[in-house]
C-alpha cells in the first residue's frame, strides 16, 4: 500500500494498450509494470534488451492504484504475464503459495556475480521462506525522519538522533505552537511507520519476522505492547498535533505542514524528498534535514536498522515458456548501465555498483545518505502491510487506525492483533 501511494504521487501514468493476448506464447515475454513517472527507466531497459534478444519483451504499463487488483485478477489465468513487477513479501505470497512464481534461488547461486550485484538486505526482502522470488528493479524507499533544520536551530534543538533529543524537540516546539511532527493519520499506513520503527528499536527485527512467517501469537511479545504504549504516549503528549486523524498524506496535507514550517518533523519514505523538491523547493534545498529513526531508551534494537520499502522487484511466472530469456532480462537489472538510468531518474538503486554513481544524482548528499543507510543496515524490514498477506494486512491497518484514533487501548490493540488471521 505504501508503495502504491508513493508512486501514485508521481502520476504520469500512461497505459499502453493491448494488455491481453498470448501471455507466454511464442517469442514474446509479457511484463506487467506499475505505470508511473519512473517507468521510463524500464522502457529504456526493454528497448535495449530487445535490440539483441530473439525473444522480445513486451511491457504492459498498468496505471496507478489498480495495479495489484489487475495482477490478482490475471494471475492463474491464461493471460498471466511472464514477468511481474511487485513489492515482494505479502504482495506475492498468494502467488507463491499457489505455485505461480519461479524460484530464482538456483539462478542466483549459479551466477555469483549476479547475486553479488545487489545489496543483500534488499535481495533478502524479496525472498519468501528462504527462496528468492524477486530481483530488485527500482530505487530504494527506506523510511527516514525528516526535520526542519532552520526551525531546530532557531529553537536551540539538536537533530533528533536520540530519544531524549526527540522528546526535547516535541516539548519545545509544542510550547511555540508548532506542530512537532506532521502525521497524515487519515491514512493508517503513515501511523504504521511509527509502530514499525518503535518495535524495531525496542526489540530488533525478530519479533516481526516471526509474525511475517505466520506466527500471529508473536504480536503478544511485550515489545509490541511497549511500542503501542509509546505511540499512545506520543499522541497524548500532542506530538502529532490535535488534528492528525483528519490530515491526509495522499492529498499532500501532511507534507505541506512540514514544507511550510507549520510542523517540524515527519517520518516518511524517502520518496517524500522529491515531493518536497517539487512543491517546496526552498525548504527541500535549504532547510530539510534527515536522520534514521532515533534509539528508544532501554531498547535492544540496532539503531542502524532500516524499515520501509526496500525496492520493487521483478518476479517470473513459473509457467513461462521463455525461461532463459526471462532470466537474461533479469540479469540486465544488475548492469551498471541500468543502475545509471535509475540514478539519473533520482532513484538510489539497490545494486552494489550504485555507490560510485550517486554523484550524478539530482541530490548527491541525500542519495549518499540513503545508500549508506541501507548498505550498513543489519536489517531492512519491509513495510508491515507489504510483508503480510493482504487479508491480514488490511485488518492490521484497521487496528492501527483504531489505536491512533484512541478507539482501543494498547492492551486491547495487542489482543486484537494476536487474533489476526
Amino acid at each position: 500500500m505504501v508503495g502504491a501511494v508513493c508512486l501514485g504521487l508521481l502520476t504520469a501514468a500512461c497505459g499502453s494498450g493491448s494488455g491481453s493476448g498470448s501471455g507466454s506464447g511464442g517469442g514474446t515475454l509479457t511484463a506487467y509494470v506499475y505505470g508511473d513517472g519512473a517507468v521510463k527507466v524500464q522502457e529504456a531497459a526493454v528497448a535495449e534488451f530487445n535490440k539483441t534478444s530473439k525473444v522480445k519483451v513486451k511491457l504492459v504499463e498498468v496505471p496507478g492504484d489498480s495495479y495489484q487488483n489487475k495482477l490478482n485478477a490475471v494471475m492463474g489465468s491464461p493471460n498471466a504475464p511472464d514477468l511481474l513487477y511487485n513489492w515482494g513479501g505479502g504482495s506475492i505470497k498468494s502467488f507463491v503459495d499457489a505455485g505461480e512464481l519461479l524460484d530464482l534461488t538456483p539462478y542466483l547461486t549459479q551466477d555469483a556475480s549476479f547475486k553479488s550485484s545487489f545489496l543483500p538486505s534488499v535481495l533478502a526482502a524479496g525472498a519468501l521462506g528462504g527462496k528468492n522470488y524477486g530481483i530488485p528493479m527500482r530505487g530504494m524507499q527506506p523510511v527516514v525522519l525528516f526535520y526542519n533544520k532552520t526551525l531546530f536551530a532557531q529553537n536551540g534543538l539538536q537533530a533528533p538522533t536520540t530519544w531524549a533529543a526527540l522528546q526535547t524537540a516535541i516539548t519545545t516546539l509544542k510550547a511555540k505552537n508548532i506542530t512537532p511532527v506532521a502525521l497524515g493519520g487519515a491514512d493508517a499506513w503513515t501511523e504504521q511507520m511509527w509502530l514499525e520503527e518503535l518495535l524495531d528499536r525496542i526489540a530488533g527485527p525478530t519479533v516481526f519476522q516471526k509474525i511475517a512467517a505466520g506466527d500471529s501469537s508473536a504480536w503478544g511479545d511485550p515489545a509490541v505492547l511497549k511500542a503501542a504504549q509509546i505511540a499512545k504516549q506520543l499522541i497524548d503528549d500532542g506530538a502529532f498535533g490535535k488534528t492528525f486523524t483528519a490530515t491526509s498524506y495522499t492529498n499532500n496535507a501532511a507534507p505541506t505542514l512540514l514544507g511550510t514550517g507549520k510542523a517540524a518533523m515527519q517520518l516518511m519514505g524517502t520518496w517524500d524528498y522529491s515531493n518536497q523538491l517539487a512543491n517546496h523547493k526552498d525548504f527541500a534545498t535549504k532547510d530539510e534535514g534527515w536522520v534514521n529513526f532515533p534509539t528508544v531508551d532501554g531498547g535492544t534494537g540496532d539503531a542502524a536498522d532500516v524499515v520501509g520499502n526496500p525496492t520493487n522487484y521483478w518476479s517470473v511466472n513459473a509457467h513461462t515458456k521463455n525461461k532463459d530469456a526471462a532470466i537474461a532480462f533479469l540479469k540486465a537489472m544488475a548492469s551498471s548501465d541500468y543502475a545509471n538510468k535509475l540514478v539519473a531518474n533520482g532513484d538510489v538503486p539497490a545494486t552494489t555498483s550504485a555507490k560510485s554513481l550517486l554523484g550524478s544524482s539530482p541530490n548527491p548528499a541525500f542519495a549518499q545518505f540513503q545508500y549508506d543507510m541501507v548498505q550498513q543496515a543489519p536489517s531492512f524490514q519491509l513495510s508491515w502491510d507489504q510483508a503480510l498477506p493482504a487479508t491480514q494486512a488490511t485488518r492490521m491497518t484497521t487496528e492501527i487506525g483504531k489505536l491512533f484514533a484512541g478507539q482501543v487501548s494498547p492492551e486491547q490493540f495487542v489482543t486484537d492483533m494476536k487474533a489476526l488471521k
Binding site: 487519515a186 491514512d187 486523524t245 483528519a246 493482504a390 484497521t398 487506525g401 489505536l403 478507539q407
Partner: protein, 311 residues
C-alpha cells in the same frame, strides 16, 4: 412510483380499453429479464455461494468452507460496530434530508417564475458526481488548509477536527450525502405537492385556515405516500452508501465511520477475502430488503390507495 402510475393507467374503467388494444406479448420482456438475470441475479447468487467459501482471494477455485464466514460475521466486533454506524448514519440521513427536502419541495411546487429559477439552482448538486462532491468537502473540511477551523467552533469542534473525530466524521458523511441528495428528494416532493388538488386549499381558506394549518392538515397528509417513497429511497441509499465514506473519511478515524458496505469493500478489494466480503454483502442485502419491506408494511404504502381517494 412506477407501480403507482401503472395502477392509475389500469384503474377500473380503463381496463376494458386496455384489453381491446391487446396486451403486449411477454416476448417484449425477454431482453429486460435477460439483462436483469445476467447482471443482477447471477452475481447475487454467486455472492451467496462465495459467502460459504473460505479465504478465496481470486486465485484458483473457491473452496467450500461451510458456515465459517457466517460464524465469524456474528462474532466480529468490527461488524457489530459497522452495523451500529450504518444504522446511525441512516437515521441521521433520514432526519436531515426529509424535513429539508419536504419543505423545499412544497415551497418549490408553487407556480412562480422566481421559484422555478431557484429550484433549478437547488438542483445543481445532484448533477455533480459523488466523487467531485466528496473531494470538494474533503478540501473544505481539511483542518489545516480548509474552512474547518472556521466552521468547527460553531458546531462544537473547537480544533476544526470535524472529520478527524468519531462523531464529526459521521455527521460530515451524513451532511455531504444530504447535500447531494436533498435536491432529488425535493424534486419528488415538488411533484407530489403539485398533485394536491387546489380545491382543498380553497375550501380550507374559506373555512379560515392559515398557511400552517393548511400545511399540517392538507399538504402533509396528502404527501404521506410521497414521504414513504422518499424515505425508502433514503434508507436503502444510506444503508448501502459507500463512495462518500470511501472518499471523505476512509472509514476513519479508526473505524468510527466504517459502514457495512465500506467494510465489505475493504475485505474484498484490499484484503482479497471475497468469501467473507460476500457474507457481509449478503447480510446487507437481507437487512436492506427487510427494512424496506417493514417500511412499506407499516406505512400502508402496500395497499396502494390513491391519494386522490375520496375526491
Amino acid at each position: 412510483m412506477v407501480q403507482d402510475a401503472r395502477e392509475a393507467a389500469t384503474a377500473p374503467g380503463r381496463r376494458s380499453a386496455a384489453a381491446r388494444v391487446g396486451r403486449p406479448s411477454p416476448g417484449w420482456a425477454v431482453p429486460g429479464v435477460l439483462f436483469f438475470a445476467v447482471f443482477a441475479v447471477v452475481p447475487m447468487v454467486y455472492a451467496v455461494y462465495l459467502s460459504f467459501c473460505g479465504n478465496w482471494g481470486g486465485l484458483g477455485t473457491p473452496q467450500f468452507s461451510g458456515l465459517s464466514n457466517w460464524t465469524r460475521l456474528f462474532q466480529d466486533s468490527d461488524v457489530r460496530q459497522a452495523t451500529v454506524t450504518t444504522v446511525v448514519l441512516t437515521v441521521l440521513s433520514w432526519a436531515f434530508q426529509t424535513p429539508v427536502a419536504l419543505l423545499l419541495g412544497v415551497w418549490a411546487a408553487g407556480r412562480e417564475r422566481n421559484r422555478a429559477v431557484l429550484s433549478a439552482v437547488f438542483f445543481i448538486p445532484l448533477v455533480l458526481s459523488t466523487t467531485a462532491i466528496a473531494l470538494l468537502f474533503k478540501a473544505i473540511l481539511d483542518p489545516n488548509f480548509g474552512l474547518a477551523t472556521t466552521i468547527g467552533p460553531w458546531i462544537g469542534f473547537p480544533d476544526g477536527n470535524i472529520i478527524g473525530s468519531p462523531n464529526g466524521a459521521l455527521i460530515a458523511v451524513a451532511f455531504v450525502g444530504g447535500w447531494q441528495f436533498i435536491p432529488f428528494h425535493t424534486l419528488i416532493y415538488q411533484g407530489g405537492a403539485r398533485q394536491i388538488p387546489e380545491v382543498l386549499y380553497q375550501a380550507a381558506s374559506i373555512d379560515g385556515c392559515g398557511r400552517w394549518r393548511q400545511f399540517f392538515h392538507i399538504t402533509l397528509p396528502q404527501l404521506r405516500h410521497t414521504i414513504t417513497t422518499s424515505s425508502v429511497l433514503i434508507i436503502v441509499g444510506s444503508l448501502t452508501s459507500f463512495e462518500t465514506v470511501f472518499l471523505l473519511t476512509q472509514g476513519g478515524p479508526g473505524t468510527s465511520s466504517t459502514t457495512l458496505s465500506y467494510g465489505m469493500y475493504r475485505e474484498a478489494f484490499q484484503g482479497f477475502d471475497f468469501g467473507y466480503a460476500s457474507a457481509l454483502g449478503t447480510a446487507l442485502v437481507v437487512v436492506s430488503t427487510l427494512l424496506s419491506l417493514l417500511m412499506v408494511k407499516f406505512s400502508g404504502f402496500g395497499s396502494m390507495r390513491s391519494t386522490r381517494e375520496g375526491m
